[in-house]
């Protein structure tokens, strides 16, 4: 019987070049092999970053790979570390929990430049991906409209009507839909559970309870929409209640 390379890979003894009885490979060939494997692994480890480097750190502007270190800007502009180390920490993106920093008043960014600009706020949560395999996405309009205007997403990226736009992880990973921001400036797409944050059973129970309170029949299992307005929602932040 001929084993496929993949079958071989799954055989730990073969993969680690260990003899089946568990002894380490002996002789010159074994030493050479182990050395080669270690050398080959070094750049991989370096690319992943040493565990100690997992803590927050920001490149100084002169070493950010973009700024000309010979130019005057690197000596004048604010350094990312100086500004960002004071804000709610994160492990991804800018290593800042931007929403937390905003909610806790660590930053107070302006909402408008012109006095006449109407600053829009909308607080309904949406339940998305009700039929998918991953946990349901509880999308907070409240959090998003703190930063953004309705027109930044509607109607060109998403229709306002629930379930009218087919949201696709494939498109998102290509930088479309949510991926226009998430993966570029908002927290990256490695943080699955920040969006896929709600157990399906909880989301469905929420919808069912709401239907009961309203005296309407809950959607039958076969007719479940992919997205729905969540019956409960995050309270509007105080600044918008005025």
């Amino acid at each position: 019987m001929r084993l496929s390379p993949f079958a071989r890979q799954r055989n730990p003894a073969s993969q680690l070049a260990l003899p089946p009885d568990g002894r380490r490979p002996v002789g010159r060939a074994g030493t050479k092999l182990r050395l080669a494997m270690r050398i080959a692994l070094l750049p991989a480890i370096a690319a992943m970053g040493w565990p100690a480097a997992a803590q927050q750190q920001w490149q100084p502007l002169a070493k950010d790979g973009l700024r000309d270190p010979a130019g005057p800007a690197v000596n004048v502009l604010q350094q990312p570390g100086e500004a960002l180390s004071r804000l709610a920490p994160d492990s991804a993106g800018n290593q800042v929990r931007w929403v937390k920093a905003l909610e806790q008043g660590q930053i107070n960014p302006r909402s408008n430049l012109k006095a006449e600009t109407k600053v829009q706020y909308y607080d309904k949560d949406m339940l998305l991906n009700l039929k998918g395999g991953m946990p349901v996405v509880r999308f907070s309009h409240g959090i998003h409209t703190k930063w953004l205007d309705c027109s930044n997403c509607h109607e060109h990226l998403f229709k306002k009507q629930a379930a009218a736009t087919k949201i696709s992880m494939f498109l998102i990973l290509q930088g479309e839909q949510c991926g226009v921001c998430h993966g570029a400036v908002a927290f990256p797409l490695t943080e699955c559970s920040r969006c896929h944050n709600t157990k399906r059973a909880d989301a469905l129970m929420d919808l069912e309870r709401d239907a009961q309170e309203k005296g309407i029949a809950p959607p039958a299992p076969g007719t479940l929409p992919t997205a729905a307005v969540a019956p409960t929602t995050r309270p509007a932040p105080a600044e918008f209640g005025k």
Binding site: A40, L66, L77, L113, Q174, L189
Partner: protein, 135 residues
């Protein structure tokens, strides 16, 4: 057969070592640029200026996204805005704030035009998912 060191065994070992080495070489390194840094260089270098580096992190501490992406009319997709120096001088785009009152004025060329020569325009410091950099 399974106990012997066949030629095929050795070949697979060297092959797997080579695969690991190759993966390490092409694996994404931690991007030194800050997440969300945008390089504008469709016109700058042709006009004899350094490319512009726009740091999102700096601006979002001071302004919500909607200020630039709604009031000022910057489209969200990197590369979809044709920002010319004339617009800025006349108070559009960056010029809405970079007027010497809210932020430094256009005379401080080198503070925005601060990039290394030859940088391609696009969004940097981002994730291996590419984000909106596909343009």
């Amino acid at each position: 057969m399974s106990h012997g060191r066949t030629r095929a065994d050795r070949r697979y070992r060297w092959l797997s070592a080579a695969v690991v080495a190759l993966a390490a070489t092409i694996a994404p390194r931690p991007a030194p640029a800050e997440y969300g840094d945008v390089v504008l260089n469709r016109f700058a270098e042709k006009e004899g200026m350094r490319p512009v580096v726009f740091p999102h992190w700096f601006h979002r501490i001071r302004f919500r996204c909607k200020v630039c992406h709604f009031e000022l009319g910057f489209k969200m997709r990197a590369g979809s805005n044709e920002v010319k120096m004339n617009d800025i001088i006349e108070g559009r785009f960056c010029g809405m704030c970079h007027d010497g009152e809210t932020a430094w004025s256009v005379e401080n060329c080198d503070l925005c035009h601060s990039g290394k020569a030859g940088l391609p325009p696009g969004i940097f410091g981002g994730h291996e998912t590419l984000g909106p950099g596909r343009w």
